[in-house]
Symmetry: C2
Subunit: 359 residues, 2 copies
Amino acid sequence: MIIMKEEQEQFMQEMFMKVGVSSEDARITAQSLTLADLRGVNSHGILRLPIYVQRLKRGLMANKPDIRIEKEDMTTAVMDGGNYIAQVTGRIAMRKAIEKASENTLGMVLVKNSNHFGAAAEYSIMAAKEGMIGIAASNTVPLMPPPGGKDKVVGNNPLAVSFPGGRYGIVSVDMAMSSVAQGKIRNAELNNREVPLGWGIDKEGKDTTNPRDILDGGFLLPTGGPKGYGLAIAIEILAAALSNSPVSKEVKSIYQLEEKLGISHMFLVINAKALIDQQDYNNRVETLLDIIKNCPAAYGIEEIYFPGEIEDNIMKDRLANGMVITREMELELDKLADELNVKRIKSFLKNRQLREGLV
Amino acid sequence: MIIMKEEQEQFMQEMFMKVGVSSEDARITAQSLTLADLRGVNSHGILRLPIYVQRLKRGLMANKPDIRIEKEDMTTAVMDGGNYIAQVTGRIAMRKAIEKASENTLGMVLVKNSNHFGAAAEYSIMAAKEGMIGIAASNTVPLMPPPGGKDKVVGNNPLAVSFPGGRYGIVSVDMAMSSVAQGKIRNAELNNREVPLGWGIDKEGKDTTNPRDILDGGFLLPTGGPKGYGLAIAIEILAAALSNSPVSKEVKSIYQLEEKLGISHMFLVINAKALIDQQDYNNRVETLLDIIKNCPAAYGIEEIYFPGEIEDNIMKDRLANGMVITREMELELDKLADELNVKRIKSFLKNRQLREGLV
């Protein structure tokens, strides 16, 4: 099934409203999750709708905002997210960091007592759209061992940094700290291929190139070993320790329907316009991106991309041509829609037959 | 030959003074390079003395400071390093960022027109010693292709983040953006071993596990592919574009004795004490590090380390037992010492025979 941006947003908004979220915040959350799908970050899009709705329904995530400023000065603030939807809280926090940066060149807002905030780049891009540099990071439930370990104590903490890129648009780096996504390991297993050394270890902590060893009680490893490990710990301290919040194993999994998650975020903004003339800045960034784009390509490669360019290209395509919802996902969403007495997702399609024909 | 910290510092200080550097700044530079050796970052220690001296002698690096503030506000400053020794300029800049953070919670100082600043962690640790969080980064001459490319346009830009770690001392992440250091590839070649996929590519840009392909006109790859690439570009923009400075190929190599390098740095400080009660902070960081240190170890592993712990352990050992200077390095240093009319390095050893016996 092919769905267009607005259709998916409408469906999701209705779902969130059915579990008590205000129309406006339901819209923001629906737009945020849809934006992830549009940018090709499918793991953070409509795929997450069922678990979000479950958590809101059970009161494990608040459906009404109770966001408080715990501490504030000219350049920084610590916000208690009141366990509300992180897509909403995150936008409020990033907006505040942007305001502080526009007044004092630098601004940082920490959010505690929050939830899964989706794709980190969405927040950093908010700053880039204002001509500023944005950094967004979050801790998460731990997924990886430290180098030499064999227990999940290190979060696959996302980090995004976005910059105005002159005539190139926005440059955006968005990464998590594991070597690869779990899906890549599953893919290798399905195709009977080995994985490179360093992607994961078996349950005893031994190096392996066999994807089954990793999936079968083993562990993903941090990207670059001590590098991804170090950055994950840095984010844990910046977002969580600094806001006096749960760290490592104290953070809960979104799929354990028992407790609130206790996730923390960090948003940092640098007002580029206060530091450098805009034309000079554009000249420098465009020079950098010119060099990158003109780099000779390896055999079989058609184009070199700057960070964030691939996601932008995917978004252009998906805005024009829509997004695929698999039959499996559709069935899961139908079940949830029936449960909540919302029209099924298909009925949101404006030209259903045509777009189904495209699948 | 085994040399103690003070002995190495004295030798290096004299060398720098002979090429026109003031006694005080020669001491700072000698201490900084020696600190890298003490922490096990040998690539940034006395190994660099000959090229530093060459550059100072030829006027490619200024031997007198002419450091100017180009732009300044409450939270930020842009400094022109006057092509002076980056170890000195970097300390001045980080000190200024710390001052700004102690007044306004956040502080950032950019340095342009600078040089190789040594180990990035030295600067971020300055902030951590004051109970603050320090970030230090620099661009460098480009060394790697972007994903899909086959030319050196991406710098192996270092990034360090340091935190007060409560009773654990200081937590410090220090990384560059290549998959591994070139030395590891050379080692694999010497031992006739393959390297994991993803470490490098051959001169045509093709994936390879043969270390010779990488060394023979090929390229190191960014760590984690798009991850290391993205972070390298982020640092290029933060340090260099934002300070209106050379980017990518515009930056020169320290070993080309023709032009100044045109390197830029970024120093960012967050005053943790303004955001959180110190006891709460220590409790959070110690809880995190307790979990890490108590993580079950993989087969054959004796201890799990937090970021920066290994370097601290090496430093304790080297402070007590000294550092090794290879015969090859000694000969190179002797040649340089003779040239500059400085006493040879051996004559700086306080108890030469004893320590030579240790080698």
